[in-house]
Amino acid sequence: MTALAQSNTSAKTALQIGATAVILVVWEVMSRSGLFYQDVIPSIVEIIRSIVNILAGSEFYRNLGVTAYELLVALVIGVSAGTVVGMCLGTSRFLSQAYERYFYYLGTTPKIVFFPLLITWFGIGAGSKIAMGSLAFFLPVVLSVSAGVRGIDPTLIKVGRSFNAGMLDMARKVYLPAIKPSLFNGFRLGAAYAVVSVLLAETKMSNSGIGFMISDAFMRFQMPRMYAILIIIFLFVAILDSIFVRFLRSRDPALANF
């Protein structure tokens, strides 16, 4: 590395470490100041102890498995349904002009409001959370795929037609590869909403899953534990997201322009 690059990197790291240190110090001061009700801002030592406890126990992983399962099934259902519908909307101008706006309206609506409905239909178990997650994935994917299909270079479509490709072949070999950037962006958007929706749904009504763990800890006023779970989850999601972005960018630098 050139000397300039090296000094830049170390300056950046110093800044990050400095900011983290400031935050931690302010936190600890607030915690010990007695300004807040006991344990609302617990000492960092307590929090770290809780983090270690949680990661060491098996309960966390069991709940993580439940939430992950719900999210995964929701992903499969939501993204595949969204892609199909999105492609239909994208290829037909008529359908798009007739119906796309309704998906847009639904898309901008907070999905959590559908939760009571989904509970009534799917029960309070995993079914309603999966339905929530599917809905959260479905709508952004529909809109992104539809826009992506409309943006495909017409030449590619003509080439496909010139080979007399049937609808299924066109979809698999022409459309899908061409809309990969839009699909991934829609997926990423949907993933953020899906994670929030599923976790909030678990917080509200569930007896397993990460959301439940958080709500449970809060109910028992075990604040360090709650903070610990939150921190672990935030880090987990952030790391997953950055891995995903790196993976996308390695395939194509223009992707993941979020």
Partner: protein
Amino acid sequence: MTGKARIVPSPVSLARMGPALTGIATVIIALVVMEVLVRAAIINPFLVPTPSQMILSLGRLFAEEDLAHRFWLTLGQALIACGLTTLVGIPIGALLHRYGLLRRAFEGWIAAWMAAPIVLAYPLFMVLIGRNSATIVTMAFLAGIGPVIIKALEGLSGVRASLVKVGQSFGLSERQLYWKVLLPAALPTIFTGIKLGAMRALLGVVGMEFLTNVGGLGQLINQLAERYDIPGMFASILFVVAVSVFFFTIVEWAEKWLGARS
């Protein structure tokens, strides 16, 4: 030759209206089919109310449950949160753009902030700030600020170098450069960020109202669900959709007014 010209609907405009009309027609047909199916008990009437019941419940909701007041409360909180994200997010984005070191250090943190489900920490804010509108606006603000910062940064960085050079050739100061060249050029991207942030903010507002029972439409949906008032619940969900349509129309109108649309 005199005489009034006959006004004939041009085929073009009919064709243009066709799809939109089809959309509306489909919705109406679907509602009618639903009405029939539920009345015939082919679909369990406990799970799905008839559309007529939903519409009728609106009257009750307006009178008893203060639907109008709740609508404005939810909308108002969302607008305040959105305004805050704009006022705070754009300067932060500009700061990150101006000082490359800050950007390199913290851009990753902002991306992480956006990916993580911040609203999950709501019980803590509730304990710290209280069970009131301030908490809701705060959570919505935190949820929505990420995209604003990132898009502001992206927009400012993406301004064409030639524009910047023209500004510099006129001897503009740093501040003038930002106000007169960079910010206007970045406005479209910034507005994309504002819209993304607005979506998250509205999600935050309604979600928080739903979970913390402070007030507004979110709380109404929760209460109606717990009372098993399914038609009312459906009706208020429709109202939330109306709020989001309203909200985004306002945002897009502001966008047009500021000339950000090209």
